[in-house]
Symmetry: C2
Subunit: 158 residues, 2 copies
């Protein structure tokens, strides 16, 4: 790697180290949720009937099924999510947001959005945001070549 | 957030979820090190006499001192790092790379660099790499406003 590539990589590494911790701390402190828990609740809240098949939810949250299953169990214990079986396919397991879960994500959202806005969106110009959109898209083609995880991010602005 | 901002944010979240896992898996599999352990060893290997004060090492690795201390203890157990006291200030604790640690980082580096190259550097054009350098710099001014952590990333290309 040349010096400029290395400088960019060192900074990206610093972002990878710092940003998740900042998102996590704000949500834990203000809402008692990890960033991943929040993301799971948010993805369910945007789905039809607030329900998703576990495998779909795993894809939307860029998580493996075992990891997701563990977190959904924890959210079930807090009565924010419930597992159920689909009408069509009795073998498929779904996760559905409960009223408690919906309240939790609705109350947590403004603080989280404010954190994202302050640390990322407002730090960049409109042009940089567009550039970052294309850069992350190019990276995701390498990070997730088979689109196994999170195809959702390719749908937004096509 | 408008649709374009949201699309960019969703993709950046996916990168934050996926990239650390890929870096970690490759290093664990091929070298028996976590990405953070590798980073600690690499920072020491680039320092004068392969030694850094613990507080400086924490800054270079974007870590809190308790987290770093925990990892240095683990690396001490594997005889890759040793703690010592500075000549000038007996109260200051330093970490120094051992011969075993130097071998470990030297053997791990090519595979790690190859992974970074494949998933990030080669995915982007020269222009995008420059853009990402400026974007991450702008983000780090928000993520680390007091430059408490990792001032190293601002030194590279000025």
């Amino acid at each position: 790697m040349n010096t400029r590539q290395l400088a960019t990589w060192v900074r990206l590494t610093a972002v990878l180290e710092l940003l998740p911790g900042i998102l996590d701390s704000q949500l834990r402190r203000d809402s008692g949720l990890t960033h991943f828990e929040y993301y799971v609740l948010a993805m369910l809240s945007e789905s039809p009937e607030m329900s998703l098949r576990m495998s779909q939810l795993a894809a939307r949250t860029n998580a493996t099924l075992p990891r997701l299953s563990h977190v959904v169990s924890r959210l079930e214990g807090r009565e924010m999510v419930e597992r159920h079986h689909g009408a069509g396919d009795a073998r498929a397991t779904y996760a559905r947001l409960t009223e408690t879960g919906w309240q939790a994500v609705r109350e947590a959202a403004p603080g989280h959005v404010e954190t994202v806005r302050h640390h990322v969106i407002d730090a960049l110009t409109e042009e940089q945001l567009d550039q970052l959109g294309e850069i992350t898209e190019a990276m995701l083609e390498r990070l997730d070549p088979d689109e196994k995880l999170g195809p959702v991010y390719r749908r937004h602005d096509s």
